[in-house]
């Protein structure tokens, strides 16, 4: 099968992170066309018609977001790239940043032109030291060639970019917490509405998009919105980068049409389960998404289909788990992560992750009680209902989905006081 490669098209080129390589492969054709032949409304119209939706997890229509920002007459406006990739299982943005930084920069510049912003920030997670260095160099090169800075390519348009490093906080990937962090604060998420599109960074209109979303912008301008809207699923068109990891033969990044079957990704592209073992569980959209069992994986990677089985597409991070794995241990490990990353602002998330972690530890240590599962479900449901932001709303997904799909794993821990797999 031959699928179009858009965002990953350049990554195998040597020196793909340098501007001359980018220009040789058709880079900056999108921005040039925008500056030469288009007005901002036309660019936004094209992005809207393409059907592009954000690739960070929430899948909001990108063109609509830009239109809201365009209409807001409050200046200055900001463009922010969310490069705080932290969802366990996701590693696509790091590769895009390190291998094709100019695609992101070009996309952000086009966004700036479209909504009337002159300043942008790339908020990159603190651990991506190499990526930040590559981005800073790329910004410098872009300035030297007048693709950033004043009067870009001789036109009446200024746009400048800065790299801003996070410092090891998962919650800062949530858009309002990211803005708080950019303002020098603790990463506490803000209440919505107002949405960042109107009241964002420094309370100004702010377009916040994911790395992969910005990388798709210039190719849409160059190849046309119709071309893009005809790839993949109708209501969520284009390609998506799936990060495949865990017990598979060929882990890695796969850029494939949206809506492709999960089983196809694991078996045809990922080469099936490692060491000839059998599949047990899959997280289709990162740790937060909640897992599927082996009977549920013949399913399109699509919001509606995944929601039906109680999961979500998220950032397309597929974690594959074989049948020699104890899912109770996975649940414990997952909750430990969310407990660590909970910012502590709201009670359901702070207390929920704390107590479920403690109960999980008790179960793993063979001290669990029968009523513990009901207690976890109760706490988890409370978090899903009442948490302040996306972190707390999703944090119980792994443990709840594991209780639902793999009750036997819990039974052996609680009844027999030991792990049936003994691979803790």
């Amino acid at each position: 099968m031959d699928y179009p490669s858009i965002t990953l098209r350049n990554i195998k080129e040597p020196d793909s992170h340098k501007i001359n390589t980018y220009l040789k492969s058709g880079g900056y054709k999108g921005l040039t066309r925008v500056l030469d032949d288009m007005v901002p409304e036309e660019v936004i119209g094209s992005i809207k018609r393409s059907g592009l939706r954000g690739r960070g997890g929430a899948s909001f229509p990108t063109g609509l977001k830009w239109e809201f920002a365009r209409r807001d007459r409050n200046f200055p406006k900001y463009i922010v790239c969310n490069a705080d990739e932290g969802e366990p299982g996701t590693f696509k943005d790091r590769i895009l940043i390190e291998k094709d930084p100019f695609a992101i920069i070009e996309g952000m510049t086009i966004a700036g032109f479209s909504v009337g912003a002159e300043k942008g920030y790339i908020y990159i997670r603190g651990e991506y030291v190499k990526g930040a260095e590559i981005l800073r160099k790329a910004i410098k090169e872009a300035k030297e060639k007048n693709f950033l800075g004043k009067n870009i390519q001789g036109k009446d348009f200024n746009f400048d970019l800065d790299v801003y490093m996070g410092a090891g906080s998962y919650i800062c990937g949530e858009e309002t917490a990211l803005i708080e962090s950019l303002e020098g604060n603790v990463g506490y998420s803000r209440i919505k509405p107002p949405f960042p599109i109107n009241v964002g960074l420094w309370d100004k209109p702010t377009v916040l998009n994911n790395v992969e979303t910005f990388s798709l912008v210039a190719p849409i301008i160059v190849n046309g919105d119709e071309w893009f809207s005809n790839i993949g699923a109708r209501d969520f068109p284009g390609t998506m980068i799936y990060s495949l990891s865990g017990h598979v033969n060929k882990p890695g990044l796969y850029e494939l049409p949206t809506g492709i079957n999960l089983k196809t990704i694991i078996y045809e592209f990922g080469g099936g389960i490692k060491d000839g073992k059998k599949l047990k569980a899959v997280f289709p959209g990162g740790l937060s998404s909640g897992c599927l069992n082996e009977n549920e994986i013949d399913i399109p990677m699509d919001h509606k289909a995944l929601a039906k089985v109680g999961s979500m597409l998220g950032s397309g991070a597929i974690i594959v788990i074989n049948d020699e794995t104890c899912m109770v241990e996975i649940a414990r490990r997952g909750m430990k992560f969310f407990r660590h990353e909970s910012c502590g602002k709201c009670v359901p998330c702070r207390e929920g992750t704390f107590w479920i972690s403690k109960i999980m530890l008790r179960i793993v240590n063979g001290e669990g009680k029968k009523e513990d599962l009901d207690l976890i479900k109760d706490l988890g449901q409370g978090m899903k209902t009442a948490a302040f932001c996306g972190l707390g709303l999703a944090a119980a997904n792994p443990v709840l989905s594991i209780i639902k799909n793999f009750p036997k794993d819990f039974e052996s821990h609680i009844n027999d006081k030991k792990c049936a797999y003994n691979n803790k």
């Binding site: 932290g86 651990e127 950019l182 990060s243 740790l287």
Partner: protein
């Protein structure tokens, strides 16, 4: 003031580039930590004074983010990913190997202050798990053999 005039000048430059001084706090903390290795109480007070924000605010932000350190750190910080994919593919064994070589437990520092061992969350390299980071360098597809060779390259 404990900070050097050169550093104070650089802090002010970062602050002036922001719509308000507080916005420079994270970059400033990185800048100063790079110079001193960690952020002591007196240094944090200096930063609060220069940026004209409350000391308690600076302490709060510094301790919220795991990558800012308020105590002395080893020359080389080893961070082993222990999240789902890495643990599926053997991060436990990687930690044991490091413990045996360095003779320390996670959260500790070697006597010669050359290495510290930390367990961290997802490092964004699940396709090449298990992984660890030493300072800013990512090391992928780790094996026992590989770890020994990697540690030798850090002096």
């Amino acid at each position: 003031m404990e900070l050097s005039p050169k550093l104070i000048k650089e802090i002010n430059e970062l602050a002036d580039a922001c719509p308000n001084k507080k916005g420079a706090l994270l970059p400033v903390l990185y800048l100063v930590q790079k110079e001193y290795g960690f952020l002591s109480e007196s240094i944090l007070k200096d930063i609060a004074f220069i940026l004209n924000i409350p000391e308690v605010f600076v302490f709060g932000v510094t301790t919220f983010y795991t990558m800012f350190h308020t105590s002395e750190q080893a020359k080389n910080i080893i961070s082993v990913c222990t999240n789902i994919t890495c643990s599926l593919l053997g991060s436990e064994h990687i930690i044991k190997t490091l413990e045996n070589i360095l003779k320390i437990k996670p959260g500790e520092m070697t006597k010669d202050k050359k290495f510290s061992l930390n367990l961290v969350e997802c490092l964004g390299s699940c396709g090449t798990a298990p992984v660890m980071m030493v300072n800013g360098d990512l090391h992928e597809n780790l094996t026992e053999e590989k770890i020994k060779r990697i540690l030798d390259t850090y002096k």
